[in-house]
């Protein structure tokens, strides 16, 4: 039987000890003597969050299918165990073998949101790996980062040996072969990293230097090694059907956030909303073959025993074979009492009909994401959802028995005026009024419930809004206050509930998102002062963060300001497929309130066409 890394005394003291014991259904156990490479795959947040992430499940499955590799999982110990491990000097361990991460060949860290940056340092620290890549000797694992935040890796580049830019399915085999080769030939860490820098998609930050203008903006980037690429292009899976996908995902013992089978319908999105980073990074949209999805759906349900399957995609309604897939799932799941969950579905007659079949109408609520209150502002952000469409969807839903509606908006979008904010409240009111018009008194079981939520807009790299300025905390809060008052002034205000996101953490997220190399020292210092689990509001220490900026002599305002058209951004050396000229064009069109059609109706020459994949190969209704 496996021994646990933690003693009974420790496990009995911490909350949810099952987070740390491994041994879950479908977890992969190998004989360590039979493998050449030990890979620790980490999501730097608590187990329940990390276990809900599809990307890790895909890579875990792929790496473990390599006979010479054993990939294990690592998550952030929760604060209670964190304190005990520091006190008792217990090194961080991987779940499967329960052995120290420090002894592994690779530590892969997926970086999904900026607010996990201090947790990356927690992982390194607890593992006993030097926080700075420059201080790591031969005996330490190669620390490699991946995921959406690596599209601006500069604020955390001192902590990583390599960043893998793009989709993980394509280059790991090459990287691991190179590693084995270097080991065999007695080449050290430095030599390996130099060679790795020439594998497509690999960014080795220590091999580059950045110089700055007097005003703080970037002057130039210099490669310190000859022959390594100046620009690093993202990796992309051209065919998302003929590729790896887990048919036996790990089934956690404890309840996690995504406690269900996840079926990824497609990668990318045709919509091109101008605030959305994923919509640009994963271009072009690539659909999986519907037969493949049917096969994996049934296999995963059988192998996990989950009672729910969720269809995952940035915009499920755009998946061309959705009706066929849903018919299949309804037919094959209903008898087995499997629920089908359909996030990111456009509300229309089709989707309501489907939801009627798969969900309990009384319990479920419908979600609309207009993102902005007025049509004018929706044109600015290129959100192709009109008021007519929203109201028609709501009318159909109310007639069909739904009485709960969730609405998502963003505050602080470029060009936003007080009138746009008023329109948020007006739209909520119209939807509430529509309920009372549509549903006769005798059929109502109470008031309609409208829940309006606002988040604060944060400009992200590789979006048309990467040039935009970001609001201050005071501006954000003022906008939330305006929204609240506007809602309170509506006729149906009693039917509308309003929630807004925290403002201070949004400001920090924005700083990190468009930050440069100079932020490494701030993150390091903030961590050493006790910042950790910043994504968890109860642990977020805003005061400590901004005090640290001060001490480092770094002005947060520099990072939230609006950028000039010609400025070199810290992430410009990465090529995400979409060209900067296209993004700039979009930024200018946004301010003229001109919409851009989606990829399926018209090509806007974003640059991703060079991959010759997905939607770029489809016949379009209109070609430009």
């Amino acid at each position: 039987m496996r021994n646990l890394a933690l003693s009974d005394e420790i496990l009995m003291q911490v909350e949810k000890p099952a987070r740390y014991i491994g041994n879950e259904v479908n977890a992969v156990i190998k004989d360590k003597k039979e493998v050449e490479i030990r890979f620790a795959m980490c999501f730097p947040d608590v187990y329940e969050i990390g276990m809900s992430h599809l990307g890790i499940q895909i890579l875990y499955d792929m790496l473990n299918k390599f006979e010479d590799v054993w990939c294990e999982r690592v998550y952030s110990p929760w604060v209670d165990l964190d304190a005990l491990m520091r006190r008792e000097k217990i090194p961080l361990f991987a779940l499967e073998s329960q052995e120290p991460v420090k002894d592994f060949d690779f530590l892969g860290i997926t970086i999904q949101y900026e607010m996990c940056y201090t947790n990356i340092l927690q992982i390194l620290d607890l593992s006993g790996i030097p926080l700075l890549a420059a201080e790591r000797g031969e005996d330490f694992p190669i620390v490699i980062g991946g995921g959406p935040c690596t599209y601006n890796p500069e604020p955390i580049c001192d902590f990583f040996d390599i960043f893998y830019i793009g989709e993980g399915e394509t280059q790991y085999r090459n990287l691991l072969d190179l590693y084995k080769n270097c080991k065999k030939n007695g080449l050290g860490r430095r030599e390996f990293l130099k060679k790795a820098a020439s594998i497509p998609g690999m960014y080795v930050p220590s091999l580059y230097e950045v110089t700055y203008h007097e005003n703080g903006t970037i002057s130039q980037r210099i490669s310190l090694e000859e022959g390594i690429p100046v620009k690093i292009e993202k990796e992309l899976v051209r065919d998302v059907t003929d590729t790896c996908y887990p048919d036996k995902p790990v089934v956690p013992f404890i309840k996690v956030t995504q406690d269900r089978v996840v079926l990824e319908l497609q990668r990318g999105c045709i919509r091109g909303c101008r605030f959305c980073q994923a919509g640009q990074l994963y271009r072009p949209v690539r659909e999986r073959n519907v037969e493949m999805l049917k096969h994996y759906a049934m296999e995963m349900l059988k192998n996990t025993g989950h009672e729910e399957i969720s269809l995952s995609s940035l915009s499920s309604s755009d998946y061309s074979k959705l009706p066929e897939l849903l018919d299949f799932l309804i037919e094959n799941c209903a008898g087995k009492k499997v629920n089908i969950s359909l996030p990111s579905l456009r509300i229309d007659a089709f989707s309501l009909d489907v939801m009627n079949k798969v969900q309990d109408v009384k319990k479920s609520s419908l979600t609309f994401a207009p993102e902005a209150g007025s049509q004018r502002l929706r044109n600015v952000i290129n959100k192709g959802l009109t008021e007519e469409v929203i109201l028609e969807g709501a009318r159909l839903a109310f007639a069909g028995g739904w009485s709960r509606v969730k609405l998502y908006f963003m505050l602080g979008l470029p060009t936003e005026t007080p009138e746009d904010i008023q329109e948020i409240a007006a739209l909520c009111n119209k939807i509430a009024a529509l309920f009372y018009e549509t549903v006769p008194k005798e059929k109502r079981t109470g008031r309609v419930q409208i829940v309006a939520s606002t988040s604060f807009f944060i400009p992200k790299p590789f979006t048309p809004f990467q040039w935009a300025g970001q609001c201050t905390k005071e501006e954000f809060l003022d906008k939330a206050y305006q929204t609240r008052s506007a809602i309170a002034g509506q006729l149906n205000q009693k039917s509308i509930k309003y929630n807004w996101h925290e403002a201070d953490v949004s400001v920090l997220e924005g700083i990190m998102a468009r930050g440069d190399r100079r932020l490494n020292q701030v993150i390091l210092k903030a961590y050493k002062k006790g910042c950790m689990y910043d994504a968890w509001s109860e642990y977020y220490k805003n005061g400590l963060w901004f005090e640290t900026f001060d001490e480092c002599g770094i002005s947060p305002d520099f990072y939230t300001r609006e950028r000039e058209d010609g400025e070199i951004f810290p992430w410009d050396f990465l090529d995400c497929g979409v060209k900067k000229e296209f993004l700039l064009r979009e930024w200018h069109k946004a301010r003229k309130e001109i919409v851009t059609p989606n990829c399926r109706s018209k090509c806007s020459a974003c640059g991703a066409g060079r991959y010759r994949a997905g939607v770029c190969l489809e016949e379009r209704r209109e070609q430009s």
Partner: protein, 225 residues
Amino acid sequence: MKVRIKFSKYGPVRFLGHLDVMRYFQKALRRADIDVAYSEGFSPHQIMSFAAPLSVGHTSSGEYFDIEVNRFTSEEDLREKLQSVMVEGFDILKVQLLPDKEKNAMAGVAAADYLVSFSDKVPLPENWKAGLMDFYRQESIPVTKTTKKGQREIDLKEGVYLLEVRGEDVYMLVDAGSGSNIKPGFVLETFFEKSGVSLPEYPFRIHRLETYKREENGRLAPLIS
């Protein structure tokens, strides 16, 4: 048809709580493709009843739950199917088709027996074995039991049916009925407190041997006999 399943819990999975064990078996039954009956209503769930919950950290060789199935082949077939989808730490020991009149696992529990061993950190007095037996041989052992509902005066003696020293461990058979159940750790904590020994945190390792029902003749019998 009602079926009773006996399983063991050992190794790392002893750190799973009762609700997580239930969730684990719900998914396991689906993986094993066992045709479990579901309840009616808006959120149908598997018809399932667990016997006495086991505390986090304890191991057991006598855990039980009942399910209702729509189709039944044989006891051995069901046992094999379910065993084939277990992870290390859970073994399916026995399966029994129940007569319709049988009380469900939860309602039928009357007693459970345990083997308790001590952590190295427990400062065991020289003569603890004799002391423990003297403690147990008292006519009555009045103690205050703290439950969710508050504090209650009880006689520990009534709830401990049998207690003996086995090697360096302690065996005991205790009341496990709902409301009147006695925790083995509580019995030993009471003893050490009365002997003036202060215990470290997490002093015991506790293994449940078997869970019992009371038969019509008043005798205790395992939930699957």
